[in-house]
Amino acid sequence: MRGAPPFQATPAADSNRIAAVPAPFAHTLVVMPAFNEEASVAATVREVTEALPGIEILVVDDGSTDATVAAAQAAGARVASLPFNLGVGGAMRLGFRYALRNGFHNVVQIDADGQHDPADVPSLLNELEGCDLVLGARFAGTGDYEVRGPRRWAMVVLATILSRTSGTRLSDTTSGFRASGPRAVALFARHYPAEYLGDTVESLVIASRAGLTVRQVPVSMRTRAGGVPSHNPLRATAYLARATMALTFAFMRPVSTYRGENP
């Protein structure tokens, strides 16, 4: 069903770049979208390197105006620098294209602000052996992450609809902590929305409608370094409205959109 199992060591197109890396992370690329994250990106890169020895990290600088690039390079990451800001979705599509072009099979997305615990990555990759896309879910047991009020309701509505679409029970659809297998990488390299909420909500619809299998594993989530999630009811309502719109348009697109040539 799938192109290649994630942990098998096959000679890749650009094998000289990744040959020295030992299994099991040989064909896995960590993509870290970073927009003005000079304060945390280096520490996050080092933490990932320590927790997952031998893994390759690509920091996608999303048009930062601070020292993000230098900090990430100093910490030992590969850095691809976008000339202007494209948003998380834009940065991630670059990550998927980079992975495809450089012979990586799997892509793990980790936020540069350090809110994701790299110790959870092996469980994501384990789950990925049986499916195409794995979400790290924040409400599935571990950790102390909590959201209340309208924003919470919005997330529940999203989770209900997307669970039905994907045929799996998903509890945290807006999680940016996810692992993509070979089929998902190839699909997302072509179609990864740059719109607000497109990178999380719409990408799930795209994956499901293209016939990819989605699963979730519980992960622990730390409180964000840069403040707490907004509980403003107005903002939460706007969030729900935008999410609904993103969902509606995602379902309205013809499925044939998701087939076609690789870039």
Partner: protein, 123 residues
């Protein structure tokens, strides 16, 4: 309708056509964008030279005041052109996004080949 307003209508319509065709001729307007303006100019010229056609068309649709048909058609054309521009903008943004990705990947590749940018990973 006075003779002055009759001439004014024809001159206005001709002006649209002249400007659109001149821009097209100089290569400052692509055909697919020019087509709408030329269509608008031709319609305005017909209605200007033969006001009877306007009255006939208004009567056909059931519009009492023929001028209202002029307003309706003008607004409809402008709306369509606006929509076309939004769509064109989306396409351009998409191309800019793809170019940005290519630039970023090439830059990373160049600096790797030069041995400067992405340093060897710490063991």
């Amino acid at each position: 309708m006075t003779l002055t307003s009759y001439i004014f209508g024809i001159v206005s319509a001709a002006l649209i056509l002249v400007v659109a065709i001149e821009l097209l001729r100089r290569g400052q307007l692509r055909e697919r964008h020019a087509i709408w303006w030329i269509l608008a100019g031709v319609l305005a010229l017909i209605a200007g030279v033969f006001p009877a056609t306007l009255e006939w068309a208004a009567d056909l649709i059931g519009i009492v005041v023929p001028t209202n048909l002029v307003f309706f058609v003008s607004i409809a054309i402008i709306l369509l052109v606006c929509l076309q521009h939004s769509s064109e903008l989306t396409r351009l943004e998409d191309k800019a996004r793809t170019l940005a990705e290519h630039v970023a990947m090439l830059e990373e590749r160049v600096s790797t080949l030069e041995g400067g940018g992405s340093p060897p990973r710490p063991e």
